[in-house]
């Protein structure tokens, strides 16, 4: 039944090559921890992706309760954390996931760096990877403000001061992020929310797509 359905779609859309590109390839021995235990270092990239998936899913559920305005943001987080069934776990996954993904990404970066895997022909993918790293730090920075507790508020104030210290464009950068040259308030929260939930994830997905297409194109780097 499923096979028939597949064939029916495949005849019209030719999805087999697509499927091939995604899943039908050999895994070389030197990256397979079943053969060489030390190959576990190749897991960090995959784990980073896994945690990103966790972040996306838990984040989607968080927005079902979260209200991005200064009157209600904190209360909505507190409500989610204390009253909603499993709310604490969903928020916990997003909160801790944000840290775990940075750790995994850091380890993945170190693996690629120390193996010299960024050398020709993989320079482009390294650059895309570093850009992903920046986007992730941006997600961490903007997400930190959203619960609108004291810690979030004051850390963001410092972050905005840092942005302001950039020569020439500093002021504009700060207004762009905070919505006002002086006040960290309602505007700042909605802007950070928009950046955290729409702008940066869009950038992240685009970069991740390029990252993965390049990996499939070029294959994994050979053994040292």
């Amino acid at each position: 039944m499923i096979q028939k359905l597949y064939d029916w779609i495949d005849e019209r859309v030719n999805i087999t090559p697509l499927w091939r590109d995604i899943a039908d390839h050999e895994v070389p021995e030197h990256v397979n921890p079943a053969h060489h235990f030390s190959a576990f270092v190749y897991c960090f990239g995959g784990l980073t992706f896994f945690v990103v998936v966790i972040q996306v899913l838990s984040g989607m559920f968080l927005t079902m309760y979260y209200v991005p305005d200064i009157e209600n943001a904190w209360d909505s987080v507190k409500y989610l954390q204390t009253q909603v069934a499993h709310g604490q776990i969903v928020r916990g996954m997003h909160h801790w996931g944000a840290s775990v993904v940075i750790v995994m990404m850091f380890l993945h970066t170190l693996r690629v760096f120390f193996q010299g895997a960024y050398k020709k022909p993989r320079e482009l993918n390294w650059i895309v990877g570093v850009l992903i790293f920046f986007v992730m730090l941006g997600l961490g920075f903007t997400g930190y403000l959203l619960p609108w507790d004291n810690k979030a508020f004051f850390a963001t104030q410092v972050g905005l001061q840092i942005a302001e210290s950039v020569p020439y464009i500093g002021e504009h950068l700060k207004v762009l992020l905070a919505g006002d040259p002086e006040i960290v308030g309602a505007q700042t929260l909605t802007r950070f929310f928009a950046i955290h939930v729409f702008f940066l994830p869009a950038a992240l997905f685009a970069l991740m797509a390029v990252h993965f297409v390049l990996i499939r194109r070029q294959g994994i780097s050979g053994p040292l």
């Binding site: 070389p28 944000a98 940075i102 650059i127 004291n150």
Partner: protein
């Protein structure tokens, strides 16, 4: 892509009607025991993923994510602290050569150089060799970078008074005060309400009276004799009223919690 005369397509689409046989790719580049990704290797990946997920969920349950009290922009005493992965920058900006007049060095120049070098690493480290010992400069730069980040983070963490922070960020529960209680009437007719607020929540002139842990006798004593920054002789009335007032306040001294 194969194109040209004689090709047949499905309807008027671009999908070819006849499929070419799958020609296995050449893996002679990596001799040894290759394994198909699907399904063999993916199955193992899923096992690793499942174990990882269990560990991760345990973490979220054992350590609930923290939430401090609602943002209060007037709280001038609050010492800001970023999330842990920005602590290295936070610490770096404390040094004299990277703060004050030189803050641009700390916020733009050094991080810009470091991250710029990271971004352009493939073009700075152009040698053929991939092994670490074949590119000593790149590897030692990276090691210096990693060690300084770890060290700066450690320094930042060591300088934070975590207990004080926990106290500073604690959520103060708002307590329902029974304003019909005869004790409340005495409280509001005495001077107390001016400094300790209409809901015992405190004001800049006096601390909250909720969750102090004091007994009625101690409160009665404070009301008459004062304590610390609170002047003596705030209460004037009968002993009976004093007793009622003290018991009223004491009934909230176990709530919220210090």
């Amino acid at each position: 892509m194969h194109r040209g005369k004689g090709m047949k397509f499905v309807g008027d689409s671009r999908v070819p009607a006849t499929r070419e046989k799958f020609i296995p790719k050449d893996y002679s580049e990596y001799p040894g025991k290759t394994e198909p990704f699907w399904p063999n290797f993916l199955l193992k990946e899923w096992l690793v993923g499942a174990v990882f997920l269990i560990g991760f969920l345990t973490l979220t349950i054992v350590a609930p994510s923290p939430l401090e009290k609602e943002a209060d922009p007037t709280d001038a005493a609050y010492i800001p602290l970023p999330d842990w992965y920005f602590l290295f920058l936070y610490q770096f900006l404390k040094y004299d050569f990277a703060s004050g007049d030189y803050v641009v060095i700390g916020t733009v120049v050094i991080p810009g150089l470091a991250f710029g070098a990271l971004l352009l690493a493939p073009f700075l480290d152009k040698g053929k060799g991939r092994r670490p010992h074949q590119r000593p400069i790149a590897v030692s730069m990276m090691l210096i970078g990693v060690i300084s980040i770890i060290w700066l983070t450690y320094e930042a963490v060591a300088h934070v008074n975590w207990e004080e922070r926990a106290e500073m960020g604690k959520i103060v529960e708002e307590v329902e005060i029974d304003q019909t209680d005869p004790g409340y009437e005495i409280y509001s007719n005495q001077s107390c309400i001016n400094c300790h607020g209409g809901n015992l929540e405190g004001s800049p002139a006096g601390p909250t009276l909720v969750g102090t842990g004091l007994t009625a006798d101690e409160i009665a004593d404070i009301a008459v004799n004062g304590v610390g920054g609170m002047p003596a002789g705030q209460f004037n009335g009968s002993d009976e009223e004093l007793q009622q007032l003290a018991e009223f306040i004491a009934s909230y001294s176990e709530e919220g919690g210090h």
